[in-house]
């Protein structure tokens, strides 16, 4: 009985997402720009929630509370500064500029925008290739998360492979059918659902234990050091490194970066930007406090075990735990669907079209884009069945990997004297350095408490600026296009 109820809730939720996708499909033009960017027409609520839901993955739901459980609620502050403030500022600094350029020159991807400015097909392909290198394992991790969550929820009645496969199949259908518009609409549903479920779970648990004072008093008894700001894992260096690498990394994640292109108007941009920090804090405080409080409420979670399902099992009825797992699936799907679409667009526009078939007709590009989604999703699913260690490590490091792109891109956006050689060297060297820190023993992962991610970012910045300063621009660079005549009307 309970198993069918739980499965009913999760499948019902998936079907609802599919229906929303189908409605969006009816409004879709059969062009690649509409498929990838909903023809740049999104309004405030949809843009706000699609960015929100895309940014927050299964990680927010599971790993975040786990971190707060083992180390204290400081994670709220780290996530708050990286997503709520740093990302918001980048939304203006990188995002608004990208939006203006995208409208003026019809750019669909970051690589396209850079390749055009620097007259370099190599740079365009390189940015797409690097992005896919980090994106693919990250998609795989989301599928691993979905499979694990469903298997745990149903006590193994739905196997890991079947769970991950089910979610992958649903995503393929609505992403292929509806593209960005369908994703943005389902994201809005999913983002709102995540917020609602998190608050419901927190209030439910607090009501059961007698309020936040009691819960916090329990935490003080069990682990008083968690109430003091800092300590343990939370050193200033770690907090700052993490916030900066993830905040900048997020802005270069294809599915987030591409959202910089989709706003319908300047007003939409301004409103979303203004509401952003509030939306973040509304989710982070209850989600991570719940994890932190669990420690004082006698919840025993081993390292690697998810705290959230345990605390829900203790204080809420069975059906509610299924709703929360559906919420986690929402978080996971709303990130993965966008990653599939962006991955496909990076591949078709920046790798396939420039290097394989330059005169691809528009209609074929649209078909190819959809085929790309299927291939990307199926490949990531197959990889998730094996879950190879190298891919796991890459997915885990994806934020820092993407963060390496951020500073060279920002230098290019704001400094006219950036040269093709400069940005190529900056991008290649920082990636090479960061990858070595992961896989080559001789390259350390930490420098006096600062992570290799942040050291790599600095290296990329210094090299992009330094090499640009000593090289001359190539003849076919279009040095003015990021600066002249850039305005919203």
């Amino acid at each position: 009985m309970s198993l069918s109820l739980q499965l009913g809730i999760v499948v019902g939720y998936l079907v609802l997402a599919l229906l929303v996708g189908l409605v969006a499909y009816r409004l879709t033009d059969r062009t690649a720009e509409d498929f990838y960017l909903a023809s740049r027409t999104l309004g405030t609520v949809v843009l706000l929630f699609t960015t929100f839901a895309t940014l927050l993955s299964a990680f927010t739901f599971f790993a975040g509370p786990n971190l707060a459980y083992h180390n204290g609620p400081e994670w709220i502050l780290v996530m708050g500064v990286m997503d709520g403030i740093i990302f918001a500022i980048l939304w203006y600094v990188v995002g608004y500029k990208q939006w203006l350029l995208g409208r003026q020159y019809d750019y669909v991807t970051l690589g396209e925008m850079l390749g055009d400015r620097f007259g370099s097909r190599t740079l365009r392909g390189l940015v797409a290739g690097i992005s896919l290198l980090w994106l693919f394992p990250y998609v795989m991790l989301q599928q691993v998360g979905a499979g694990t969550a469903l298997e745990a929820l149903t006590d193994g009645a739905v196997s890991y492979a079947a769970g991950a496969g089910l979610v992958t199949a649903f995503m393929i259908v609505y992403v292929v059918l509806a593209g960005m518009r369908g994703i943005a609409w389902t994201d809005t549903l999913q983002g709102a659902f995540m917020l609602l479920v998190t608050w419901a779970a927190t209030l439910w648990v607090l009501a059961a234990v007698g309020g936040p004072e009691v819960a916090t008093a329990g935490l003080e008894e069990a682990a008083a050091e968690h109430l003091a700001l800092g300590g343990g894992l939370y050193t200033p260096q770690w907090m700052v490194s993490t916030a900066i690498t993830i905040g900048f990394g997020v802005a270069m994640f294809p599915q987030v970066n591409q959202r910089f292109f989709v706003a319908g108007s300047k007003t939409v941009f301004k409103r979303s930007f203004t509401l952003w920090p509030i939306l973040c804090v509304l989710l982070f405080v209850p989600a991570f406090m719940l994890g932190a409080w669990a420690r004082g409420l006698g919840i025993e979670a081993a390292v690697g075990e998810n705290v959230l399902p345990l605390i829900l099992a203790e204080y809420t009825p069975l059906w509610f735990a299924a709703v929360v797992v559906a919420g986690a699936m929402a978080a996971m799907m709303s990130s993965s669907d966008s990653m599939l679409l962006s991955g496909s667009s990076y591949f078709t526009r920046d790798l396939y079209r420039p290097f394989v078939e330059a005169d691809l007709p528009a209609r074929r590009e649209d078909l190819l884009a959809r085929a790309g989604v299927v291939v990307f999703a199926v490949a990531a699913y197959l990889a998730s069945l094996v879950n190879p260690a190298t891919l796991f490590e890459l997915g885990d490091a994806a934020f820092s990997g993407f963060a390496q792109l951020a500073l060279p891109v920002m230098v290019a956006l704001y400094w006219r004297r950036t040269t093709r050689t400069g940005i190529l060297v900056g991008v290649v060297a920082s990636q090479a350095f960061y990858l070595s820190s992961l896989f080559v023993d001789a390259v350390p992962a930490s420098y006096a408490g600062w992570t290799a991610g942040i050291v790599g970012m600095l290296l990329g910045l210094v090299l992009t600026v330094g090499v640009s300063a000593v090289t001359s621009p190539a003849a076919d660079e279009r040095r003015a296009i990021y600066f002249d005549g850039l305005r919203a009307d």
Binding site: L77, G80, V81, G84, I85, A88, T267, K270, T274, V281
Partner: protein, 79 residues
Amino acid sequence: MRRVELGVWIAVAVILVGLSIPWFLWGTATVVAGLPVWVWWHVGWMVLASAVFRLFATRAWGIGIETGETSPASRGDTR
């Protein structure tokens, strides 16, 4: 002057980032209304950030980016 204004906004951004974690409360474990006091600081700071973003969006939007002839502040939102 536009340059000065840009400098002020950059400083504001740095302060917003820098103090979203209340470093001056490092090691403090005081609890207020069921939450550590530094969580409350953060919540308040995010609300403040939203207010500052609103001010920026209405007063200075386009600064450092738009390069049209008219200044962005004097122009209506046309799209």
